[in-house]
């Protein structure tokens, strides 16, 4: 495994001196995010999200399976997020680094446990057939802050995806192909998005850290919020202790950012819808 080499000590000195003046190494403001770009693929539910130079590809697919015995009305949402060496040479296939486990856990909490997708709406025939959604994430490039990029890509893919229209007559289930009947979007309750802040000793927090900033910081805080001003997940794994005011300040910043991010997502979806033929005429 390629162990990541620490940057030379002059980088940390410069970074702290720059942050003390309120400047970041790529010219951003401390609470400014990098540019968000979405590239939609051919299939519905295939979208690549770019946050600056960090890129994550999300793909949603669906299949019909038998539900669990104790939950006959619920569908499944499986999230597969393994980071491979394509993202960076420090990752290896076979999930061992702490950052990988943290990202997977936070994505599970943000998307599954917050019930962003209505799993009961995935039910076709209670006790017999339900939809199983599989969300696969491919981490293409790690330039810092893979988690925020992954959560954006996931929610965008889920919003973009459409499942085949299913008709239930008695006990018979007819699955219509996309040519016969237009596919149906998923039932999404809300859009939880992750925001990661990096902290340095005695300095204000910065949003959306780059690779160098997250290597040299003394702690990170991830807040998952939705456009309805609700905190879905708050995760702080180690690092310098933070006071209540510091956390609430960051949450307040996050609320506005998430609203902007959801607006960017909706605009991108709108643009894609104009260019794509989904309805059957």
């Amino acid at each position: 495994m390629v162990r990541e080499i620490d940057p030379p000590s002059i980088q940390k000195d410069f970074l702290l001196a720059a942050l003390a003046e309120g400047k970041r190494l790529d010219g951003r403001l401390p609470l400014e995010q990098r540019k968000i770009e979405f590239v939609f693929g051919e299939e519905l539910g295939n979208v690549e999200c770019r946050l600056g130079k960090t890129a994550v590809l999300a793909q949603v697919s669906a299949s019909i399976v038998k539900p669990r015995e104790d939950r006959p009305y619920e569908g499944f949402l499986l999230i597969n997020s393994e980071i491979g060496p394509m993202a960076s040479s420090v990752y290896e296939n076979g999930r061992s680094s702490d950052s990988e486990i943290l990202i997977t856990r936070l994505l599970e909490k943000s998307i599954r446990r917050t019930e962003a997708i209505d799993r009961e709406a995935l039910c076709i025939l209670a006790g017999e057939k339900v939809w199983q959604l599989r969300l696969t994430l491919h981490f293409l490039s790690d330039s810092g802050n893979l988690l925020d990029c992954a959560s954006l890509a996931s929610m965008m893919a889920l919003k973009h995806f459409r499942k085949a229209d299913v008709e239930v007559i008695g006990d018979e289930v007819i699955i219509h192909s996309p040519e016969e009947r237009a596919p149906v979007p998923l039932a999404i309750h809300h859009t939880p998005l992750c925001l990661t802040f990096a902290y340095f000793e005695n300095l204000q927090p910065i949003l959306d850290p780059t690779h160098l900033e997250s290597t040299l910081c003394s702690g990170t805080l991830t807040v998952t919020m939705n456009a309805q001003r609700e905190i879905c997940v708050l995760s702080k794994a180690g690092g310098t202790p933070l006071s209540v005011e510091e956390i609430m300040g960051v949450v307040r910043v996050g609320v506005d950012k998430v609203r902007d991010m959801v607006k960017i997502m909706d605009e991108a979806l709108e643009r894609d819808r104009e260019n794509r033929v989904v309805e059957v005429r």
Partner: protein, 243 residues
């Protein structure tokens, strides 16, 4: 002269016009290839890298050939000037990271005026500017912090404060070329001190933080192709970044 794209393993035909041919990086004289048809006795030249075949006329009708490609991974070669980070120290010297596949060895005595009594005291995490003394693909590369011809430091050694930027190997070679317009254009607006490592790292030091950040963004912009290395574009980019 149109450049041809060569792939690793392509054999290059030699022009018969030049008296002598100098092979630069990316080319090797191969003798272990499948022998060419019997009449051909000239050893064939094989390219190692992907890129454009470039040539230049040298003195006395000699011609230099090399392959120019875009790459970020450094492969140590002798006499290269590199920027390395000290990652470990032991009794005899230091282990330095150059960004290549193997760590390099820096002997504690490979400094100007170093004796067994007065060895340099470099901490882990120090940035050093050094020269590759020995580079073999089967062994760990060795670097030294003095010029072997003069025995003096000549700018090699520890670099204090400043900022390090990663860039492609091609840009580093361009920056060392005195005819490349970037550094003189930048020097007109920002006073700076710079050290270019051929392993894809550039170190510079300016008086203020914003000047360093502006330099970093300009170098990264030129590397990615957003800014063209012409005086006008560079000047407007610097003004925008300093504001």
């Amino acid at each position: 002269m149109a450049s041809t794209l060569v792939l690793p393993g392509d054999s290059i035909p030699l022009p018969s016009s030049s008296k002598s041919v100098v092979l630069g990086p990316g080319l090797a004289a191969s003798s272990s290839r499948i022998p060419a048809p019997s009449s051909d006795e000239v050893p064939s030249i094989i390219s190692n890298k992907l890129g454009l075949l470039s040539s230049a006329k040298g003195k006395e009708r000699s011609e230099q050939f090399w392959v120019e490609g875009k790459s970020k991974r450094y492969i140590p070669a002798q006499k290269d000037m590199v920027l390395g980070t000290v990652i470990a120290r032991h009794a005899e010297g230091f282990r330095v990271d150059l960004g290549s596949s193997q760590m390099a060895q820096l002997d504690a005595l490979a400094f100007e005026g170093a004796t067994k009594r007065s060895k340099p005291n470099l901490k882990v995490g120090t940035l050093v500017y050094a020269r590759v003394a020995l580079a073999n693909r089967d062994m760990e590369p060795e670097i030294e912090c003095f010029d072997p011809n003069t025995g003096k430091a000549e700018g090699f050694g520890e670099l204090k404060s400043g900022l390090v930027v990663s860039c492609s190997l091609q840009l580093c070679r361009h920056l060392l070329n005195p005819k490349f317009p970037l550094l003189p254009t930048l020097a007109a607006t920002i006073p700076f001190e710079i050290a270019v490592g051929l392993n894809g790292r550039v170190w510079f030091k300016t008086e203020t933080v914003s000047e360093s950040i502006a330099l970093k963004r300009v170098i990264e912009g030129i590397d990615s192709g957003d800014i063209k290395p012409e005086k006008g574009e560079v000047d407007s980019a610097v003004r925008e970044y300093l504001a």
